[in-house]
Symmetry: C2
Subunit: 423 residues, 2 copies
């Protein structure tokens, strides 16, 4: 028998209790043990909840309870959650958490603290998709060349609508908020921060690299315009918020940003609120994992799979995928400005003679060569045009300098926009 | 240190040796141990091989070798492989196998024989995709409602070409043979038998059900015609060889056959030699797994992941997913004739008055109602027409009887063809 205490009984926690109770037959058959939710800790006891386990407002009732084997941390946040998980581990209790922010900041401390005590966190990345297990165990024979993920359902819902129905960002965002797919303050999702937390967790498993969110390139989808959608369609791309980890020599690129992705790629076909993660291994090639990245029931499915692994004693896999550090490889984070990729650039200009020549000159000076070009008259403004380029591969530093110089040109009407291309 | 003996050193075996040697850095860091291929057993020593381990022609050199911890069975076939794996287990050696036929027939005997000795078989289904792990561990909280897989790359290559390039089955088959995607005798692949073996392995993990290949519905793709492709395109379907496991009450449908799949479904987007497996869990909803289902390097990636799991002692997960049998559920195989689904029917007729009325009468008598209808003149034969129907959901028994009656009509020129629809 495995006895579980749940700290934070919201949507996910309630679904965990339901699954443990309603699917008890199959869970017991698969794990060889009964897994029983014995106690929940909540902030507010008066809130109505559709579950039947005893509740407390005192975390000590779980953390210091000798009858509890596993602590389920579902409260969210970083500092308080870290304190609670730390206490649970020190008390010898296994931990399961769905808290990506906690892991984005403290995964290495927790690994060291846990030692041989299991910490499950399958639910922290891509909800119901077992991507942690796939990467840490299923693909363990491979050097990971790259990971490209769509790991934020809110952004993918918005971008899919913008592509398919030509609705503006701000209008789809409102719809997403009405449907409960986006928060009242959507910054954490649409700004790319949620996806960045998940990326750092996967990057640790793939590369053994210890990086904090503040160190990596993070851009959101707020500035995607109808012209960008139009260019993407014209040249056979979809636009996705991608989380990218990529090995180049002894450097690892880690970045989250909207990207133009060729329609033929499997990852470009992941639409709506769904998540998809494509992983390129040096031996297996590309595998992709698709499914619901959020939602109480899907996330709880991942939490319970961790509990079953603990019951089966299969959580012997090293928490972050490595038992000994990858000393020799000496992988380190690639500085943002060293990133090389293709770019798409949007420049709004006053339509007059010599404009294209001056722009081309600036691009040429920075070793940026143009791959495709589309010019459109500005529908809203007479005598204005929008120039849309894609480039061959060049350096982030050069693009940023070129964009700054373009923005300073007298005939350029607003700061030029850029979206990276992942071909 | 884990010492591995390999029985059968062909394409996959050679790649296993290469991965263990060339990726030794990351494998050691991830597993905490060195995993060393120490001996290979082959039929023919004189054959040139690009590997550097000692070879023998005597299986005893591996099976009775006290210096070998894990036996890798990569020889294929059923009876001899079963004898060898049995001996390995009796000698206390862990086993890793890529042999789907062996498991399709003997998985339950092997499970009982193994007890706590690990048997890894990730490579036996869908090559490099870690679908065994996903189903057995990642989705363990779920009752599995359905599995729909594209698990034969040869068939998917052929069907993709037929859909995209309007080439006839026999011509694409020749191309596939020339490219090495199909065997000289392609029956095992195009007849659906290879996919059926894989399906039975997944069905055991999902449902704890013990079924042999002879008991389930297996149809191949040999009879798909250009008219079928045409109908599929007209009504928004792709045609795929699907392996289907589906729970209906206390029965489990297990079937392998070509199917019309709506273009919007993620599984319909899996093209070429790639595999994809969609799994519907009662809690998580749909997740899908995509990647290379064959090939030496991809398959070896899965084999080595099993070796790493053994080194990490994470192979404590029950071999077939269940520790105690699912007695209560009492799931059993649904008889073929009880299957309910939608159907597409192709009937070639002499084009004369009253034909459609007689056909409709027969369908009506068997409670089959028509959903879509397309009539085409036969391009090659004057005064002939091809009638293409899709039906609403009805019973397999009724369809089979109706097809027999249609085939007996005087104006029906060849036996009617049928493809099931998976909507």
């Amino acid at each position: 028998m495995i006895r579980v205490g749940i700290i934070g009984v919201g949507t996910v926690g309630s679904h965990v209790v339901k699954i443990l109770q309603e699917n008890e037959d199959i869970i017991t058959a698969r794990s060889g043990k009964r897994i029983i939710p014995v106690m929940g800790v909540v902030k507010n006891l008066s809130k109505k909840r559709d579950i039947t386990i005893p509740l407390s407002t005192n975390v000590d009732d779980v953390l210091d309870n000798p009858d509890i084997d596993v602590v389920l941390e579902l409260m969210g946040g970083v500092d308080e959650a870290y304190a609670i998980v730390t206490r649970a581990l020190k008390n010898g209790k296994a931990v399961v958490t769905a808290n990506k922010a906690l892991l984005a900041y403290h995964r290495y401390e927790l690994k060291d603290l846990a030692g041989n005590t299991p910490i499950g966190y399958e639910a922290s990345v891509a909800g119901g998709i077992p991507i942690i297990k796939a990467l840490r165990e299923g693909l363990s024979a491979n050097h990971i060349d790259a990971i490209k993920g769509i790991m934020n359902g809110t952004c993918n819902f918005i971008l899919t609508k913008m592509m398919n129905e030509k609705v503006a960002f701000i209008d789809v965002l409102k719809e997403a908020q009405a449907l409960g797919y986006a928060e009242a303050d959507p910054t954490f999702d649409v700004g790319g921060f949620d996806a960045a937390h998940k990326l750092l967790i996967l990057a640790s498993i793939a590369y053994g690299i210890d990086v904090k969110p503040e160190e990596i390139l993070i851009e959101g989808i707020e500035h995607i315009s109808s012209e960008d959608i139009c260019f993407a369609k014209e040249f056979g791309y979809n636009i996705k918020l991608l989380t990218i980890a990529k090995k180049s020599g002894d450097k690892v690129e880690l970045r989250v940003h909207p990207a133009l992705v060729p329609m033929g790629q499997m990852i470009a076909k992941v639409d709506g609120v769904m998540n998809g993660i494509s992983v390129i291994g040096d031996r297996v090639g590309e595998t992709m994992y698709y499914g619901p990245g959020a939602g109480g029931s899907a996330t709880a499915s991942a939490v319970v799979s961790d509990l079953i692994d603990i019951a089966r004693h299969t959580q012997n896999s090293p928490m972050l995928g490595f038992i000994t550090p990858l000393e020799k490889s000496g992988l380190s984070l690639m500085p943002k400005e060293e990133i090389c990729t293709q770019y798409y650039i949007r420049v709004s200009v006053t339509d007059k003679i010599g404009v294209l020549s001056q722009i081309s000159q600036i691009l040429g000076k920075h070793n940026i060569s143009i791959s495709s070009f589309l010019q459109k008259q500005d529908a809203l403004k007479a005598n204005s045009a929008v120039l849309l380029f894609s480039t061959h591969t060049c350096k982030e530093r050069e693009i940023q300098q070129a964009l700054a110089e373009l923005g300073a040109l007298e005939f350029v009407e607003v700061a030029p926009a850029m979206i990276r291309i992942e071909a």
